[in-house]
């Protein structure tokens, strides 16, 4: 860890002003300190925002809910409103990391965590995300955990968050506050950039901008929500693949389906064509397989990640079987309630 100045921000504007070249916000710190110890990130100034007021509540907002950026992952998962109205978010959060990490990790930090690509993590290897222009060691390297969607020649690193996958299925927005106090709301598709030839630039946040909240739209009434994560051990591992689904039925047909995917994308992945393909259809295995084929149409796996094609297809089928009632619901699939 490089030496840095520790600055405790007393207000949002304090924090914004202290930002800029070489500065880094810290909240939960569960990924940042991990990276700083390995000098993958080496800020000169670390701005502690954990004591900023007003960013630690989960509160009704418009038709939906506003989640302060400092709400811990545990508190968010256990929030009665979230459990009842947005259960896929609870399910995604508790499918990630460990109890200890979730107690510390923040909502904003979860969104901004970095990839766990082993070449990003090894400073002896070339990585365009860590050191722009040095090359991508994952090409021709070990690639089992890499993304297969949204990749470029310069980067194939997967986004590691579970929570953000659920947020994409829920069509959440983030509230971003700039240095002058103005706020804007953008969807996660706008927040996250595709790597292209600049994989080091992961978001569209401008200098001095801070994610201050996540905004959930009105709950999808009468929906069944599911988070299905497949990993190398039963708990405490990153996703090989994951599927978040928010589904409503109209009789025996799918009315709406909003799906998002983890472990496969360079960012928490959502494909509107997949959702559209399911709309108005009678659920069956062939339909789900077709949805998966649509999802995978543009997939470009590293040879070692080729298995993610069949695996995400099978996980999607398993998730939708439960979400559409073709199979009995197991832990991870919940019917939303109408009120808290």
């Amino acid at each position: 860890m490089k030496s840095f100045d520790y600055i405790r921000a007393e207000s949002l504007s304090d924090a914004s002003k202290a930002m800029g070249d070489g500065a880094q916000l810290i909240a939960g710190g569960t990924n940042l300190l991990d990276l700083m110890k390995l000098q993958i990130m080496s800020p000169d100034r670390v701005i502690d925002i954990t004591r900023l007021p007003g960013l630690s509540d989960v509160a009704p907002y418009k038709d939906g809910v506003k989640i302060g950026a400092l709400v811990s992952n545990s508190d968010l998962a256990a929030d009665p409103k979230i459990k009842a109205l947005y259960p896929v978010l609870t399910r995604a959060i508790v499918a990630g990391a460990s109890g200890q990490i979730r107690n510390k990790a923040s909502t904003g930090g979860n969104l901004l965590q970095r990839t766990r690509c082993p070449y990003f993590y090894d400073t002896s290897m070339a990585c365009n995300k860590r050191a722009p222009g040095t090359g991508c060691s994952a090409h021709g390297g070990a690639g089992r955990m890499l993304a297969i969607l949204g990749t470029s020649d310069d980067c194939m690193a997967a986004h590691p968050s579970d929570m953000a996958v659920a947020l994409r299925a829920l069509e959440a927005h983030v509230e971003i506050t700039s240095a002058n106090g103005e706020t804007r709301e953008v969807g996660l598709d706008t927040l996250y950039r595709l790597p292209g030839d600049r994989p080091d630039l992961e978001t569209t946040l401008a200098e001095g901008e801070i994610i201050t909240a996540v905004i959930l739209p009105a709950p999808v009434k009468g929906s069944v929500q599911s988070y299905r994560k497949v990993r190398d051990r039963a708990s405490y591992a990153f996703a090989l693949v994951s599927v978040a689904a928010v589904v409503t039925m109209d009789g025996d047909k799918i009315d709406t389906a909003s799906l998002a995917f983890g472990g496969v994308g360079v960012r928490p992945w959502k494909d509107a064509q997949v959702d559209a393909l399911l709309h108005g259809q009678t659920p069956d295995q062939a339909l789900f397989a077709k949805a998966a084929d649509r999802l995978l149409a543009q997939a470009k796996p590293h040879p070692e990640a080729e298995f993610k094609r069949p695996l995400v297809k099978r996980a999607l089928i398993a998730a939708l079987r439960e979400a559409t009632g073709l199979a009995p619901a197991t832990a991870g699939t919940d019917k939303t309630r109408d009120a808290v």
Binding site: V94, N103, A234
Partner: protein, 168 residues
Amino acid sequence: MKTELKVNGQLHTLDHDPRMTLLDALRDDLHLTGTKKGCDHGQCGACTVLLDGRRINACLTLAAMHDGCEITTIEGLGEPENLSALQTAFVSKDGYQCGYCTPGQIMSATGMMDEVRAGDPSHVSTDLSGDVPFDDAEIAERMSGNLCRCSAYPFIREAIAMAAEVKK
């Protein structure tokens, strides 16, 4: 820089490098070496302590960030001749072998039991609306952030279940 920590009820003022983690502060400055360093990256759970009553990985936070906070470590849970119910259960169920992950397991279980009582959901909870059963599947999932390479897992969970019975 200076940071004030209340550890196991006792106030300490640290004079430290801003880079010092809470874990290194406990182990090296306060000589509370019961909190272990297994990986230093939040991947093993050996450094679990309670921060204001909640379990966290002490390796993944800076001491500086916790000025004025209350920390409970394994040393604050009980002494060799005056052990907590959980510590006693670990001894009688052989919920350890080498003992290195043990303080983390015990601190994690302490925090975990409160989380279950509060009804916090886990990955294996079948129902998000009701109470959480204190069964083995729940304990196993919730303790999965604490690795034990000696692999005392079944005995650790027997100890936790035994201590939970005592508490009832």
